[in-house]
C-alpha cells in the first residue's frame, strides 16, 4: 500500500519535472519579443497586439491559436491591401520557419484582442498565451503603450525595446 503510494508520488514528481523541463524548453525554443498593445480609449472594444515571434528550434513551428485571460476572445488576423482596399482576415495558423523570426506589426499580422474584461491603462500588462501546433504554449506579457504621435519617430520604432 505504502509502496504503491510512493510509486504514484515518484511518478508525479518525475512527471512534474518533465512537464517543467518541457515548458522551459518550449520557452527557449519559441518566444515573443517586444510585445505591445497600442492604448485605445475605453469605448473601443477591439485591440491589437504586436510582437516578434522567435523560433530558436531547428524545426518549423506554427502558431495555431491564442488566448488571453484579459479578453473575451483572441484571434490571429492579417491585414492586407488588395486593389487599393484594406482587408482584415482570420488566419488559421502562422508558420515560423526554423531559426527565424516573424514580425506581427501594424498593417500586417496582429493578434486581435476582442472584448476587454477590464480597462487597460498605459504601462499596464496584457497576458496573452499563444498555442503552437506542437501543443506547446508561449506565454506573453504585452505592455500597453501609446502609439508614436507628434514626433519624428517613424513606425519602425513601434517595436522598440520596452
Amino acid at each position: 500500500m505504502i509502496a504503491a503510494r510512493r510509486a504514484i508520488l515518484v511518478i508525479g514528481v518525475v512527471g512534474a519535472a518533465f512537464y517543467a523541463a518541457a515548458q522551459l524548453l518550449a520557452a527557449e525554443r519559441v518566444s515573443a519579443e517586444n510585445a505591445w498593445v497600442p492604448w485605445a480609449p475605453p469605448t473601443v472594444e477591439v485591440h491589437a497586439a504586436y510582437m516578434t515571434i522567435v523560433n530558436r528550434s531547428n524545426e518549423e513551428q506554427s502558431v495555431v491559436g491564442a488566448e488571453s485571460p484579459d479578453y473575451e476572445r483572441v484571434e490571429l488576423h492579417s491585414s492586407s491591401v488588395k486593389n487599393g482596399v484594406s482587408e482584415m482576415r482570420d488566419v488559421d495558423q502562422v508558420a515560423i520557419p526554423a531559426n527565424q523570426r516573424v514580425a506581427f506589426e501594424p498593417g500586417g499580422l496582429h493578434v486581435m484582442l476582442i472584448g476587454p474584461k477590464r480597462p487597460h491603462a498605459v504601462d499596464s500588462r496584457v497576458r496573452i498565451v499563444l498555442r503552437l501546433q506542437s501543443g506547446e504554449l508561449v506565454e506573453i506579457s504585452a505592455v500597453v503603450r501609446r502609439r508614436d504621435t507628434g514626433s519624428h519617430a517613424g513606425h519602425d520604432q513601434h517595436g522598440a525595446p520596452q
Binding site: 485605445a40 480609449p41 477591439v46 491585414s79 487599393g84 504621435t149 507628434g150
Partner: protein, 209 residues
C-alpha cells in the same frame, strides 16, 4: 592613384544620388488629378452631432480616410501616421494652410458612440464624421473610395473592408487626389506641402489676374 580615388568618389556620389531619388519616390505613392473633381453633396454628422456636409470641406485642405472604430490595426495606424504628417507639415506651412484630418466612419451603428474618443486619441483637432448609410455612400463616391461590410460570422461579428488611400481635398471642396500607404510622415509631408503651395499659389495668381 589620386585620379583613381577621385573617380571612385564621383561614382559613389552618383550611386548615393540615385539611391536617394529612388527612396524619395518609392516612399510616397500618390495619384494627383490634373483638375480637381468636385466632391458631390452629402449630409453627415461630426463627432459632436453637428452637421458636416460637402460645404464643410471648403476653406481648408482636408485629408480624409474611410474606416471604422472597431478596426484595431490599419485605421489607428493610418491615423497615427497622419498625426505625424500634420506635425511635419507644421514645420513647413503656415497654420492656415494646414489640413484638417477627417475620419469617415462607415459603420455608423457601432461607430457613433465611439467616434469622438476614437479620433481624438490621435489629435484633439481630428474630426470623425458618420451618418446614414446612403449619405456615407455619397461621400465615399465623391472621394473615389469604397467600403464593403463582410458577412457576419456565427457570433454576428463582421469586419469592414475599405479603401486604404487617404483622399486629399482642396479648399474649394474638390478632390485633388489620393495618397496610398505607407504614409511615411516626412516624405508624405514634403509631398503635400509642395502640392498645397503649388495649388494655392496657382489659385492666388488666377484671382489676381
Amino acid at each position: 592613384m589620386i585620379i583613381e580615388r577621385r573617380q571612385l568618389l564621383v561614382v559613389a556620389t552618383v550611386v548615393a544620388a540615385v539611391a536617394l531619388t529612388t527612396v524619395a519616390v518609392a516612399r510616397v505613392d500618390a495619384v494627383i488629378l490634373d483638375r480637381p473633381a468636385l466632391v458631390q453633396a452629402f449630409i453627415l454628422d461630426d463627432h459632436n452631432g453637428k452637421p458636416f456636409t460637402a460645404d464643410s470641406l471648403k476653406g481648408h485642405w482636408s485629408l480624409i480616410l474611410a474606416g471604422f472604430t472597431n478596426c484595431p490595426d490599419v485605421c489607428p495606424f493610418t491615423l497615427a501616421n497622419l498625426e505625424q504628417v500634420v506635425a511635419e507639415l507644421g514645420l513647413r506651412l503656415r497654420p492656415d494652410r494646414l489640413p484638417l484630418v477627417i475620419f469617415l466612419a462607415v459603420d455608423p451603428d457601432r461607430d457613433r458612440a465611439n467616434l469622438k474618443a476614437y479620433v481624438q486619441q490621435f489629435h484633439p483637432d481630428f474630426i470623425g464624421v458618420t451618418g446614414e448609410l446612403d449619405q456615407i455612400e455619397r461621400a465615399l463616391k465623391g472621394l473615389d473610395a469604397v467600403a464593403v461590410r463582410s458577412k457576419p460570422d456565427a457570433r454576428g461579428n463582421y469586419s469592414v473592408s475599405h479603401s486604404a488611400a487617404v483622399a486629399v481635398v482642396d479648399p474649394q471642396g474638390g478632390l485633388a487626389g489620393k495618397i496610398n500607404p505607407p504614409f511615411d510622415p516626412e516624405p508624405t509631408a514634403e509631398f503635400l506641402a509642395d502640392l498645397f503651395r503649388r495649388r494655392d499659389d496657382a489659385r492666388t495668381g488666377e484671382m489676381g489676374r
